[in-house]
Amino acid sequence: MDSPPIVISASPHVHSDRTAKRIMYDVVIALVPAFLVSVYVFGIHALIATTAAVGSCLLFEYLIQKYFLRTEVTILDGSALITGILLAFNLPATLPVWMIIVGSLVAVGIAKLSFGGLGYNVFNPALVGRVFLLICFPVQMTLWPTPVENNTSLVDAISGATTLGIIKDGLQIGETMGTISAQLPSNMNMLLGITGGSLGEMSALALLLGGLYLIIRKVISWHIPVTVLATMAVMTGIFWWADPTQYVSPIIHLLAGGAILGAFYMATDLVTSPVTKKGMVVFAIGIGLITVVIRLFGSYPEGISFAILIMNAFVPLINKFFKPRRFGSKIKATIV
């Protein structure tokens, strides 16, 4: 027979054009605006850090899969690319490159491939890499460059503090909220990204733009980001309402730090979040609560990465307890 034989397969014989690869590259597209802002703000440092993280993530995935695990190499599926970008986004722009590479190794090698690769990892790889670096190199990891005027220069920018860092430090040395507020960047600056902080968490606006794109493209559902942010707003709102001298307003909490980056891009990671909408809401409430608790009472100024990792561990349990309602399950069956 010359022509290839007739194909037999079970139904369905059609498939939607939505593929895992397309989902992954949609996430990459959504991260572009935030990346552009960070390049604008941190200049060449942002470029170097992101390139280092992405490059080393891809390289480690290739090396480990090819020579260590000897499985199919999947670096083109986009997941290592995203891990790299998100890892870079969670680091200070001026972090030494070798530390970024160590972080990538932990993210790809330990958090992802040792669990069995894409789809089997329990924790968000980029966050594991970030938290690993934060614990190993606490000084460098909290050395935040401030936005530079001459953003093509390679000279280290003057290090400043993040919005949340200012608040935490200020409260620890007993400053009043009045004096602290004076040091904080304006809400508008936080929205646009003219502030200190991790590479990618600069501009709330750019991140929201990308997040909106993801929701429109149905890569993520609105449940997780909206619930995380709402929970945080309600919690910090209660404290602020109770004692405005000790606590800042919810608006600052939402705009500052990694809240938006975490809520839209890290918590929504398909692999490490629950599968049902009900489960997603529960998961997101957990993240919101833990984040606020760490921010207000913990020793770290920012807690969303810990919160997401902690809730990642609960995902299998959430999947077990929050199942979709089975069709026809409420009514008693009578078999004819």
Binding site: P4, P5, I6, V7, I8, S9, A10
Partner: protein
């Protein structure tokens, strides 16, 4: 400094002591009596947990052996007569000796002789593809080639021959546990007596179609011509639905049926080759010595 060391040593020691006590009390209080014979039998059994005996595992089989009065119907196919003899000595119960058996694949329809007419796309599992249709070839009785039998074998006694796409049994490793027999959706694998030197004769085909159709689908199919049936001196061969079957109970391995088969669908293994050649000359029929089972 010393204080803290002493403190921790004291703490750990007392913790260990307390938990040790608790463990001791609990193990005494909730002690369950178990017949020591069960443990003894379990030690004898091969610990393969293959379920070939019908019990879910070796421990369960040991319990069953101890509990049952008459164990003549029970047999561990993996351990064979030796193990059963030891069991009999321990328990003082009669066991029945059984001929050792081995798995044989009753299909020779490799890629070269059984042309593929369609392409299957889906999970690589015989059970699943058998649910959808009759397989990639036009023979709906033969091997599907997705290797469920190989996947289920716990003794590495089977592998897929890449050239033919058919499973092969490594006779020395086969313990005749029967897992592959259950796994095959087409009932192609059969347990047959091993005989001396692993001599076997069996029909390597299950095709029940009429001769012409069977032959068109596969060059080595049994076409139901009854020639073997006619030639068999012991009436060990039965013809049902255009298909010959050699009953191992009556077969004396005389090999008369092998050369008369026009499609070479009767397989003989481990017989000396010389004799086959002689027959070849006698009858003037081209006969290959099929040595499928002993490839490894």
């Amino acid at each position: 400094m010393t204080d803290s060391i002493l403190n921790s040593v004291f703490l750990l020691t007392s913790l260990g002591g307390v938990t040790g006590m608790v463990l001791f009390i609990v193990s005494k209080k909730f002690y369950v009596y178990e017949d020591p014979l069960i443990a003894e039998i379990e030690d004898v059994l091969p610990a393969a947990n293959c379920a070939g005996c019908g019990s879910p595992g070796c421990k369960a089989f040991a319990e069953k052996l101890v509990a049952t009065e008459d164990i003549s119907g029970l047999f561990c196919p993996v351990g064979g007569n030796e193990v059963m003899k030891t069991v009999s000595e321990i328990l003082g119960k009669e066991v029945v000796e059984q001929d050792p058996t081995v798995a044989v694949v009753r299909c020779q329809g490799g890629c070269d002789v059984r042309p593929k007419t369609t392409e299957y796309q889906g999970p690589k599992s015989c059970a699943i593809s058998a649910m959808i249709y009759s397989g990639e070839t036009d023979c709906q009785y033969g091997c599907l080639g997705d290797g469920d039998c190989v996947a289920v074998c716990k003794f590495d006694a089977m592998y897929m021959d890449e050239a033919t796409g058919l499973p092969v049994v490594i006779t020395d490793k086969c313990t005749s546990c029967g897992m592959c027999v259950d796994a095959c959706p087409r009932d192609i694998i059969e347990m047959r007596p091993k005989h001396k030197r692993d001599l076997k004769i069996f029909v390597g085909c299950l095709n029940e179609d009429k001769g012409g159709i069977a032959k068109k689908a596969c060059a080595v199919a049994c076409i139901g011509c009854s020639k073997c049936f006619d030639v068999c001196p012991k009436e060990a061969i039965t013809m049902v639905n255009n298909l010959a079957y050699i009953d191992p109970e009556y077969c004396t391995l005389c090999r008369k049926c092998v050369p008369v088969c026009p499609t070479e669908s009767i397989i003989e293994t481990n017989f000396p080759k010389k004799k086959v050649k002689k027959v070849e000359v006698d009858k003037g029929i081209e006969v290959k010595s099929v040595n499928l089972m002993n490839d490894a």
